[in-house]
């Protein structure tokens, strides 16, 4: 559909008009460096033209309403209108289209994820002419990134504070998720940390319930952390979850964690973008590592046709400013196609995230010196997968073995030691130039000769895999180029 040249009188006549003709479809538009660009996957209702659908998305996520309004003429409406400038079919998905939409920088308040998202995902996902809509990726201009502080600590400074270099970090989530008393809970923390883990973690729904008040948990956990530090001579941490019903309550819990000397606090994604930014600022003021659990994301990130890709959430969270974020394991129990996960990890860790369609990354994204976020791999992983984890996830990652530590037949500390020995032996082999991915099982068996707990872990879980087809996979495949 071609945009129509209209006289002003014609354009602003009362009534309804296709969005494409209202100025929201501009196929000749060349985005400028300061534009925010969003890439949507659009599934129009039967009979709706994809260009009109894209223009409608641009309109409803910027200035438009369903009918013509004369008050547009009191504004510089042409610059405020989002512009759909490209629409192309999704490969192998007959009824779906990718739409590129550019937004002027002045549409967004600086330093506010809430304002950015209120436009981009505000109303438009319920728009009737669309059967489904998914936000696949965004290009955030450097000018806008510079209005955000980003991660308060970042990978480099986190490693310096913890004095841990050259290997992935190890963690475990305390299990069972619910029901342990503070005293019993701290026992798990102590055993896991003294056995060799760097971190333990509250689960997302551990807040302050009848079986364990938050203050009790914090006190027992810090006893455990300090005992484990003395037992090993290493810095240890436990993610104290400060998630609560109000900001006031969260600040009170964060302050108490600080008073007790914790190096890290934790929040859940469900507290909301503004609350996350507030706690990021608090963490920056107080030298605290901020761990984010992505609780709730699967309800809108997993399905390919509707919702928001997690790579966009990862991007927003790097801007909002968290130090850790759960980002997939590839080999564990939760959703995670290897190529899609690679795209998400690049988004969190690179100085410039390269465009890689085969990873689902549509735009090159320079990060303007915003700190790097440490991805966290958690959920159904165990020591026997160490070569795969190092291969797929790299070095700057927290590997979290909850069941794989606490469920060890010889106890929690033995489980932790098994994981640490597996990790160190794999990193050493990698650095020595060995083909650790293919020799991984041999490397682990050799390491188990001097580490009984690793041998028992391999006997117990060596064959456990979660081999299901992923739902969220890239639409493009890499093809070799002819040179």
């Amino acid at each position: 559909m071609e945009p129509t040249e209209r006289s002003a009188e014609d354009r602003y006549k009362s009534g309804v008009m296709p969005y494409a003709q209202m100025g929201y479809w501009q196929p000749d538009y060349e985005p400028v460096d300061t534009d925010v660009i969003a890439l949507f996957r659009i599934t129009p209702q039967v009979g709706v033209d994809p260009v009109e659908a894209a223009a409608a998305v641009a309109g409803e996520s910027s200035t438009a309403t369903w009918t013509v309004v004369w008050t547009d003429r009191l504004t510089a409406c042409e610059s405020y209108r989002a512009k759909a400038y490209r629409v192309q079919p999704v490969p192998n998905r007959g009824d779906q289209w990718f739409a590129w939409i550019a937004y002027d920088l002045d549409l967004f308040e600086g330093g506010s994820i809430a304002n950015l998202t209120a436009s981009i995902i505000g109303n438009v996902f319920g728009f009737k002419p669309l059967k489904a809509l998914r936000l696949e990726d965004m290009r955030i201009p450097v000018a806008y990134l510079k209005t955000f502080n980003g991660p308060p600590t970042g990978i480099v400074v986190e490693r310096e504070r913890l004095d841990k270099f050259g290997r992935p970090l190890l963690g475990a989530t305390v299990k069972p998720k619910l029901g342990l008393s503070g005293r019993n809970y701290g026992r798990v923390v102590y055993e896991a940390l003294r056995g060799g883990l760097d971190f333990t973690k509250d689960d997302e729904n551990i807040n302050s319930q009848s079986f364990m008040h938050w203050r009790d948990r914090f006190l027992y956990c810090m006893e455990a952390v300090n005992r484990a530090e003395a037992a090993t001579g290493e810095v240890k941490g436990t993610y104290l979850n400060v998630t609560a019903g109000t900001m006031e309550e969260m600040y009170e819990r964060a302050e108490f964690a600080k008073e007790l000397g914790s190096v890290v606090i934790m929040i859940d994604l469900v507290i909301g973008y503004s609350a996350i930014q507030s706690l990021s600022n608090w963490s920056r003021r107080n030298d605290m590592i901020l761990h984010l659990h992505r609780a709730g994301h699967g309800s809108y990130t997993r399905q390919r046709d509707h919702g928001i890709s997690f790579r966009v959430i990862a991007k927003w969270m790097r801007m909002a400013g968290v130090d850790h974020i759960h980002a997939g394991t590839v080999v564990g129990k939760l959703e995670g196609d290897p190529l899609t996960i690679a795209g998400i990890y690049d988004t969190l860790r690179e100085e410039v995230t390269p465009q890689r369609l085969e990873h689902g990354v549509f735009f090159e994204q320079p990060w303007a010196s915003l700190n790097k976020v440490m991805p966290v791999a958690s959920g159904g992983i165990h020591a026997g997968q160490m070569h795969q984890l190092l291969h797929y996830l790299g070095e700057d990652v927290v590997l979290q073995f909850g069941g794989g530590t606490i469920g060890h037949p010889d106890g929690i500390a033995a489980g932790a030691t098994a994981n640490r020995v597996a990790l160190e032996s794999m990193v050493m082999a990698r650095n020595e130039g060995r083909d650790y991915y293919n020799e991984g099982p041999d490397i682990l068996r050799d390491a188990a000769k001097t580490c009984g707990p690793l041998g028992r872990a391999l006997e117990t879980w060596g064959d456990v895999t979660f081999d299901y087809t992923s739902t969220d996979t890239p639409d493009f495949v890499a093809t070799p180029t002819v040179s």
Partner: protein, 141 residues
């Protein structure tokens, strides 16, 4: 106790051959290699003593291994660590750190608690070794 700082402390102590392989890994990445020693291994003692300057632009691991040997001979019963500094923009920090010598006996650390209000406890980690003046901290056994 066994001090478990560094990337490989849960494995058997590294042989010189294994140390050489790790130094080569650092050289292949263009990192400068540091040798440091201490008799105060407190987890927050960041600044171990430098054994000379970091080695930049290494063509082989040999100079590092020679320097390590000299450091060991001077400090037979100290902790010695090897670390690698990456000058790449966005990192500009250490990329690897591991222990290359440890004392024959590692006395470890004490947790000192002081009670505060509301069941709050303030913790101090105290190294047993640093009870003694530096020259008496580690004895050969």
């Amino acid at each position: 106790m066994r001090l478990t700082q560094g990337a490989f402390s849960y494995l058997p102590d590294l042989t010189d051959e294994q140390i050489e392989a790790q130094v080569n890994y650092c050289i292949d990445h263009g990192w400068a290699v540091n040798i440091e020693y201490t008799d105060d291994p407190h987890p927050r003692n960041t600044y171990w003593e430098m054994w000379g300057m970091p080695s930049f632009d290494l063509a082989s691991a040999r100079p590092v291994l020679d320097a390590l040997q000299a450091c060991r001979e001077s400090f037979t019963n100290h902790y010695i660590r090897i670390s690698a500094s990456d000058s790449e923009k966005g990192w500009e920090s250490l990329r690897l750190s591991f222990i290359a010598q440890r004392p024959a006996v590692e006395p470890g650390f004490q947790v000192v608690r002081s009670n505060g209000p509301g069941r709050q406890i303030n913790y101090t980690t105290r190294s047993y070794a640093t009870d003694q003046p530096p020259e008496q901290r580690y004895r050969d056994v």
